[in-house]
């Protein structure tokens, strides 16, 4: 079972690698122009030759592909023409910020959504449930960037209590706890925006999950056994309700990735998403490729982990 899934993931990964490789070669024109565009003042022929040699653009397609595979395998994601640095270094610089932002936001979103989803689903039809359901159904349709911009307008532009963007105050000379507070202050708005936009769908699925198991025999059994109400809700019902959340992540992950990309761009938060946004703007193709490769690997890894975990948390599968 795992072997079969693993092969599928490897095939998916290869498909993306091939796409990564083929796309730039399909482009018309001299790659040097694609790299520098019309931003150059004057591109002398000597310089053009030098760049061409520097970027190995003269070799055949096959050797380029082999070289490409070899470099990926050895952890070399290419060289950013614009950034004048190995892609892997640039990505490595941005990754911690994304992890911090996404980690905080998703941790918050999952915790709050699970709690609210369980409580709301358990009280189906009551006032609390109706309000929560209505609020989150509406939020579910609002793109995260929109929430982010409203937050910027209120808290940065008008109230001036929180910074509008970035991850730290540059060269303020903060150290220790001051630095931590500074990072936290910069984190509040983007994390809130991301958290709220991811919160809604997890909540909705969680609530739906609870509602669908509420009448199941095993819940009834639990009640008859005289188990504590909370134990039933959080140990039995929640565990089953989590399943749709897990299965939906595969579909949702594209939207989550897009959401991170947009939120980081809106807040100029120096993570992978903003890096990609910038790379798209400046047309730094090697960097775009490198980032997408990293994203692909992460997404595949997450989905694969989900697939492995799924049977462990699904009592139906485990008990069979």
């Amino acid at each position: 079972m795992f072997g079969k899934r693993l092969i599928e993931y490897v095939i998916a990964f290869m498909a993306l690698i091939i796409l990564n490789f083929v796309m730039p070669r399909l482009m018309p024109g001299d790659p040097i122009d694609a790299i520098y565009g019309n931003e150059l003042v004057a591109l002398t022929p000597e310089l053009r030759e030098q760049l061409r040699a520097q970027y190995l653009l003269d070799q055949s397609i096959w050797s380029q592909f082999l070289h490409y595979l070899y470099s990926i395998a050895s952890g070399d994601l290419g060289y950013s023409y614009a950034g004048k640095a190995p892609v892997i270094d640039i990505v490595a610089g941005a990754l911690p910020w994304t992890i911090l932002l996404v980690g905080t936001a998703l941790f918050g979103a999952i915790t709050i959504a699970l709690f609210l989803g369980i409580e709301s689903g358990w009280r189906r039809g009551e006032r609390l449930d109706r309000y929560l359901f209505a609020i989150f159904s509406i939020i579910n349709g609002i793109p995260g960037f929109f929430i982010g911009m409203i937050l910027i307008i209120i808290f940065a532009l008008n109230l001036k209590v929180l910074p509008a963007g970035g991850a730290i105050t540059h060269y303020a000379g903060y150290t220790g706890s001051e630095y931590a507070i500074d990072v936290a202050r910069h984190l509040i708005l983007p994390a809130t925006a991301l958290c709220v936009s991811e919160l809604s769908w997890i909540y909705l699925l969680m609530r739906g999950g609870i509602i669908s198991v509420i009448n199941e025999p095993f819940i009834k059994t639990g009640m008859l056994k005289g188990l504590d109400d909370r134990t039933i809700r959080y140990r039995y019902a929640a565990r089953n309700a989590l399943l749709p959340v897990f299965t939906r992540i595969g579909i949702q992950i594209s939207q989550i990735v897009a959401g991170i990309l947009i939120i980081e761009a809106v807040f100029t938060y120096p993570g992978i998403g903003y890096l990609l946004h910038d790379a798209l703007l400046t047309r730094d193709l090697p960097l775009i490729q490198g980032i997408l490769l990293i994203v692909t690997i992460s997404v595949l890894a997450i989905n694969f982990t989900m697939d492995i975990l799924y049977p462990r948390i699904d009592p139906r599968i485990r008990h069979v």
């Binding site: 002398t44 940065a156 532009l157 970035g166 060269y171």
Partner: protein, 561 residues
């Protein structure tokens, strides 16, 4: 349980509201914000090719001559002269200049730099015209040219950063030389930190600077998506902003820095293809396009109509003795009809074939394209717009596989050499127009005319020919706005920084004039600072209190229940 929750939520909200007060930077620090932020390692081969990369590098490395708002000023060279007989420039160097590692700057460094850039070409200084550089004595160099070359002072003396020989002579991979030693220069500031991940730069003053005391102890460059937000928020002292934001910012105590005619939106025409190969047809397009409307709409009124000879009226080299092509649909129709076109049902036809154009653009220029499309369609030339990805667009234009295309370029106020790049360069934004022999000759001639007045005349002729032939149609020059507080005075450099950069970030703004006394700088500035930030909260969007009040009421409500 509910109570606890409510209190927790209320406490969290209060915490968010309470975390406040941005650390305002002191008067000895200036922070410049910009949407892109990262321009690479600030050495000649390390910085990104874009203009802002050059600016970063220019804080550390000096050129022989420099420019301010009025024109050339001495930099590493105190004075310079041209000898016609020898076709050579002689520079008397400033002997107070020192490299930041303490070594003296000498004539040898200049000679070395020229040889170095000949071996490792630098984009911003094309040395093809330079024969050799002779060291006359310790503080004099003579640069001999291969041929007469008019743009020499702008393009080489005014753009080429001088490198310390004792550092760079061992460097054979300049792009990857990121040692601390790579940052040894003669300029007013020294790099303290460059963070690619945050796209930020920190410089500190070089107190040994030979042309005056640096104005600030620290100069910081940061990245910010929206200039207005960071200025109002107190996170930056200077930033590019939208023209519409100026009013609010001025009310908040900021000054506008305004520049025009540095940049041009233009319409590329495939003059290799029927019917665009007919000059009359191109002229008809020029008459048919309402360029005033383009300024009013696409530029929202912040810009000016472009002149068809490309050089803007603000340039010293401009002539108004050229066809202006004021919007004139009748004239356009006349010209079209003279080519055999007939207007049938609002569409021009020739030999039963309807006229139909495709305008290719990049996504950013959609709005401009929408207006052009409507204008041409109204004239009787139905036009469709197709957005392409930049590389594809460039390649289609280069291969003459298009009808009309939107393009853009800068360097308009630079040396008139720019006309060669515009008309006959090998780029996608060049018209690559060689059909007019007279124009070809004149373009070559002006490059080698050392007498400014004579050169001026030829350049005027070129503009006239260009406006008549219309190898491409210049549309409009957008205006550029920056806003800054009063820590220093910013300006746009005459003919642009170095080769013609349209940024108001001249390093001389960061150096105290010899005229300005070394007066204590902090006292005067401090009260200004607080005034600015206080008055800031009073203005802008009127709806500001609503969310705040709501939030506050919410908190109170939560606490009370």
């Amino acid at each position: 349980m509910y109570k606890i929750q409510r209190k927790t939520i209320a406490a969290m909200l209060l915490l968010i509201m309470a975390v406040s007060a941005t650390a305002a930077a002191g008067a000895d620090m200036i922070r410049i914000a910009d949407p892109s932020g990262d321009y690479g390692y600030p050495t000649p081969h390390g910085h990104y090719s874009r203009g802002s990369g050059y600016i970063q590098m220019s804080l550390i490395f000096d050129t022989l001559v420099w420019k301010d708002a009025d024109g050339f000023v001495p930099a590493l060279a105190d004075e310079w002269s041209y000898d016609e007989n020898e076709n050579a420039y002689t520079f008397n160097l400033n002997m107070d200049a020192k490299w930041t590692d303490g070594t003296d700057f000498t004539a040898e460094d200049v000679r070395f730099t020229i040889e170095y850039f000949k071996e490792y070409p630098y984009l911003w200084a094309d040395l093809a015209s330079v024969e050799t550089c002779e060291v006359v004595d310790d503080n004099t160099v003579k640069i001999l040219l291969k041929e007469l070359y008019a743009p020499f002072i702008t393009e080489i003396a005014g753009s080429m950063p001088i490198l310390p020989e004792h550092v760079w002579k061992e460097v054979d991979d300049p792009a990857n030389f990121v040692d601390e030693r790579a940052l040894i220069g003669t300029g007013p500031y020294m790099l303290e930190d460059y963070s690619r991940e945050h796209s930020s730069y920190l410089y500190h003053a070089n107190h040994k600077y030979y042309r005056g005391e640096p104005k600030f102890e620290k100069v910081v460059f940061i990245k910010a998506k929206d200039g207005q937000v960071v200025l109002q928020n107190g996170d930056a002292d200077m930033a590019p902003v939208k023209p519409e934001a100026i009013e609010t910012l001025e009310q908040n105590g900021f000054t506008a820095v305004y520049g025009s005619c540095f940049w041009n939106h233009k319409l590329m025409i495939n003059h290799h293809k029927e019917p665009f190969n007919r000059t009359e047809f191109r002229q008809a397009l020029a008459y048919g396009i309402n360029r005033t409307e383009l300024v009013e709409k696409a530029g929202r009124g912040y810009g000016s109509q472009a002149s068809l000879g490309f050089l803007p009226p603000e340039s010293d080299w401009y002539t108004d003795d050229q066809p202006a092509y004021a919007h004139n649909p009748e004239k356009a129709r006349e010209l079209l009809e003279s080519l055999g076109y007939q207007l049938i049902d609002g569409v021009y036809e020739k030999d039963g074939e309807k006229l139909q154009l495709e305008l290719v653009i990049i996504a950013k220029e959609t709005k401009l394209a929408e207006i052009l499309k409507m204008q041409l369609t109204e004239l009787g030339i139905p036009t469709t717009v197709k957005a392409l990805e930049l590389t594809t667009l460039d390649s289609q234009v280069k291969n003459w596989n298009f009808d009309i295309a939107l393009s853009r370029h800068g360097l308009l106020k630079a040396d008139p050499k720019t006309l060669i790049n515009l008309l006959q360069g090998n780029t996608s934004w060049s018209a690559r127009y060689f059909e007019n022999e007279e124009l070809n000759d004149k373009l070559e001639e002006q490059l080698h005319e050392m007498d400014k007045n004579k050169r001026m005349e030829i350049v005027h002729e070129i503009q006239k020919l260009c406006a008549k032939d219309l190898p491409a149609i210049a549309l409009y020059y957008p205006d550029y706005y920056y806003a800054a507080n009063d820590k220093t005075k910013w300006y746009f450099t005459k003919e642009g920084i170095a080769n013609g950069l349209r940024l108001p970030l001249n390093k001389l703004s960061l150096v105290r004039d010899s005229g300005e006394l070394a007066s204590p700088r902090t006292e005067g500035d401090a009260p200004e600072e607080s005034r600015t930030s206080e008055s800031a909260s009073a203005t802008e969007t009127p709806m500001l209190p609503a969310p705040v009040v709501l939030l506050f009421i919410f908190v109170v409500y939560l606490l009370r229940r």
